[in-house]
């Protein structure tokens, strides 16, 4: 296990180097001269020169790349260009709200989708199954935007079951007051695609010989589904959840925008609109690292979900 982890971590080095190179090329080369963005509407040559010196962009590109690499490894991206906050502070303070929304959403969505998919797979081919499939197809074709606009208007404004938007300092208030509507919306929207996918995973398993054998030796349908089919379908489900995990941290940026939740996703959008490059650069690099770590974690979890999987 130790050797496996060490090897996998070592393999991340070239990928991380690639991510750093990609972000560097994007923001230091394609992105144009940040001094022109920072100097404002009426640029003054002396001021531009000064900003360029401060940011180090009057240096040759390899020095700039070295500065960027140092920033990545010291967790010090300097200050935001627009708010002058420390970038590390910005990221840390935005992480909480995003997780407050996304963790309940992930748990609720996975639980519901797995349960419903198992039920639908159980009655496969029936009218219920076909109706569910048609409904999910149509539901998936409607834009996320339309759902948010309509749900926020209906449940927040018209029926006033939930506050239209808002956020507080207190975790508990957030969880019971402000989080429910965005969480329910997120679950509702991601349910259709997950349900379809998980159903196909279950159907794949149901077709296998071991299911027939289990039935033949007289196991109850319930036991076949829960003990055999569910356990075996867990691997692809785990993969799917694992793939989605890193974007958990970007949060659903649309939800955060509409419900004015001060999370990472909204921060990214704001930074893009304000050309606040340090914030976007930092979030991109660290989320890439996180993605790689999560992928490793999922691979390790495979081994526990299915002991036949050998970690090599």
């Amino acid at each position: 296990m130790g050797a496996y982890l060490a090897r996998r971590l070592w393999q991340m080095v070239p990928t991380l180097a690639g991510v750093i190179a990609l972000v560097f090329v994007l923001f230091n080369w394609v992105g144009g001269d940040p001094a022109l963005i920072l100097a404002g509407k009426v640029p003054d040559p002396a001021q531009i020169e000064n900003i360029r010196r401060q940011l180090g962009i009057d240096q040759p590109w390899w020095v700039q790349l070295w500065i960027f690499v140092q920033q990545v490894f010291t967790f010090d991206f300097g200050r935001s260009w627009s708010t002058n906050q420390l970038v590390s502070d910005v990221i840390l303070s935005r992480l909480g709200p995003t997780l407050t929304i996304m963790v309940p959403m992930l748990l609720l969505e996975t639980l519901l989708a797995v349960t419903l998919a198992l039920l639908v797979a159980w009655v496969r081919g029936s009218l219920t199954d076909r109706v569910v499939m048609v409904v999910t197809t149509v539901a998936m074709s409607i834009s996320f935007l339309v759902y948010i606009i309509v749900f926020q208007w209906l449940f927040g404004y018209r029926l006033a079951w939930f506050p239209v938007q808002g956020w507080s300092e207190d975790l508990w208030t957030n969880l019971v007051k402000f989080a429910p509507l965005p969480v329910l919306l997120g679950v509702f929207v991601s349910l259709a695609p997950s349900l379809r996918l998980y159903r196909s995973f279950f159907l794949d398993e149901i077709g296998h010989d071991y299911v027939r054998t289990a039935r033949a030796k007289g196991l109850s349908e319930r036991r076949v589904m829960l003990r055999h089919v569910l356990r075996n379908a867990l691997i692809p489900i785990l993969t799917y959840v694992g793939i989605g995990l890193p974007s958990l941290f970007v949060g659903s940026f649309l939800l955060e925008m509409f419900f004015s939740i001060p999370g990472l996703g909204r921060e990214v959008i704001d930074s893009v609109n304000r050309s606040d490059f340090p914030v976007i650069k930092a979030i991109t690099v660290y989320l890439a690292v996180l993605t790689m770590l999560v992928n490793l974690l999922v691979d390790v979890l495979y081994h526990y979900a299915d002991p036949r999987v050998k970690l090599r």
Binding site: G18, F27, S143, L145, W153, V268, V272
Partner: protein
């Protein structure tokens, strides 16, 4: 489906139909697929007509009153408009009191009246209702939606084309050559997939700016990874097949083997991936335009329409939201169902 060339040349007997002919025949038997195909063709037709300026070229004309109601709601709104008209005429009577002796501007009224008489004022006929309602400036929502289809379809198709081309090319290189080329491209793939997709798009959007061409580039340059993965696997599988080995034996060059022999045999994968990407990109374009990261404000897209609709809903003007949302939903459903049908029709196992 792998060796149609060999099957077609089978000795003694008519040449058997190729994969595409069989798939096409199977697709035509599927009524749902045909209906979806008609819907997609209709959207493309409307889009082309709009691009050529045949329809909806005057979408910017303010033909109706502000938030003109959809025509099918006419009876309800007629009454309200009459009430509003009544209020204005009562006000006019009240204003008719003679103030000329205390009004300092009174001596100049005649002069102004003469001047204004010289100017031709064309009073625009604004209708109270429009087929599917009007927006804030009284523009026809039907025409706006038609015009918006131009952006959505162009972006979806062009970006999907770029992404599919990049993905196919890189996948072919990695799968066919293996070795160093494969290592390098796998590294590139890992780099692109280690950044969450949303973030990747936004990072590109931050530096590349706005505009339709920019969105096409962004989506095309970030969306190739899925196609690459599948095409690499296909090429890995096919390069050891007998028909490729046979081609090699008679001295066919690498390029011809890659794109003349293997590509036609894997093109069904390309087609399905392409239509999946079209759906994904149409959805993404709507969101980017909504956020103001997509097309400029003066260009109408379904995304900018939804951005306007957000505030209108609170005022009870739901039609722009409904029409733009429905136009997109119908197109996306049609392409998705068509993709499913194509996948089934092209599946060699079902043959």
């Amino acid at each position: 489906m792998s060796e149609p060339a060999v099957i077609a040349g089978a000795p003694g007997g008519a040449p058997s139909p190729g994969l595409w002919r069989i798939a096409w025949r199977r697709l035509l038997q599927d009524r749902l697929a045909v209906a979806c195909m008609l819907v997609v063709v209709a959207y493309c037709g409307v889009m082309l007509a709009s691009a050529a300026g045949l329809v909806a070229s005057d979408w910017e004309r303010e033909v109706g009153v502000t938030y003109a109601a959809p025509a099918f709601l006419i009876s309800l709104h007629d009454v309200r408009d009459e009430e509003a008209g009544g209020a204005i005429s009562r006000r006019a009577e009240f204003d008719a009191v003679d103030l000329s002796d205390i009004d300092p501007l009174a001596p100049r009224y005649d002069e102004w009246r003469r001047q204004t008489a010289d100017v031709d004022v064309e009073s625009v006929e604004r209708s109270l209702t429009l087929p599917l309602g009007g927006d804030q400036w009284g523009r026809d929502i039907l025409r706006k939606t038609v015009k918006g289809s131009e952006v959505s379809l162009t972006v979806g198709l062009a970006a999907a084309l770029i992404a599919t081309l990049i993905g196919t090319l890189l996948g072919a290189l990695a799968g066919y050559w293996g070795g160093r080329v494969n290592d390098l491209l796998e590294w590139l793939y890992n780099v692109f997939t280690s950044i969450p997709y949303v973030l990747l798009i936004l990072a590109f959007a931050a530096v590349l700016g706005r505009g339709m061409l920019t969105i096409i580039l962004i989506l095309g340059l970030t969306g190739w990874t899925g196609v690459y993965r599948l095409m690499r696997a296909e090429y890995l599988k096919h390069r050891e097949r007998e028909y490729v080995l046979a081609a090699r034996a008679i001295g066919v060059g690498h390029l011809t083997r890659m794109f003349g022999h293997i590509l036609p045999n894997t093109s069904h994968v390309v087609l399905v991936q392409f239509s999946l990407l079209v759906v994904a990109f149409i959805k993404t374009e709507v969101i980017l335009s909504f956020l103001g990261l997509g097309v400029p404000v003066e260009v109408v897209s379904w995304g900018t329409m939804l951005a306007e609709a957000q505030n209108e809903l609170v005022m009870g003007k739901w039609w722009q939201l409904a029409v733009a949302g429905a136009a997109m939903a119908v197109l996306v459903t049609a392409i998705s169902l068509l993709t499913d049908a194509m996948r089934d029709a092209l599946d060699p196992k079902l043959r």
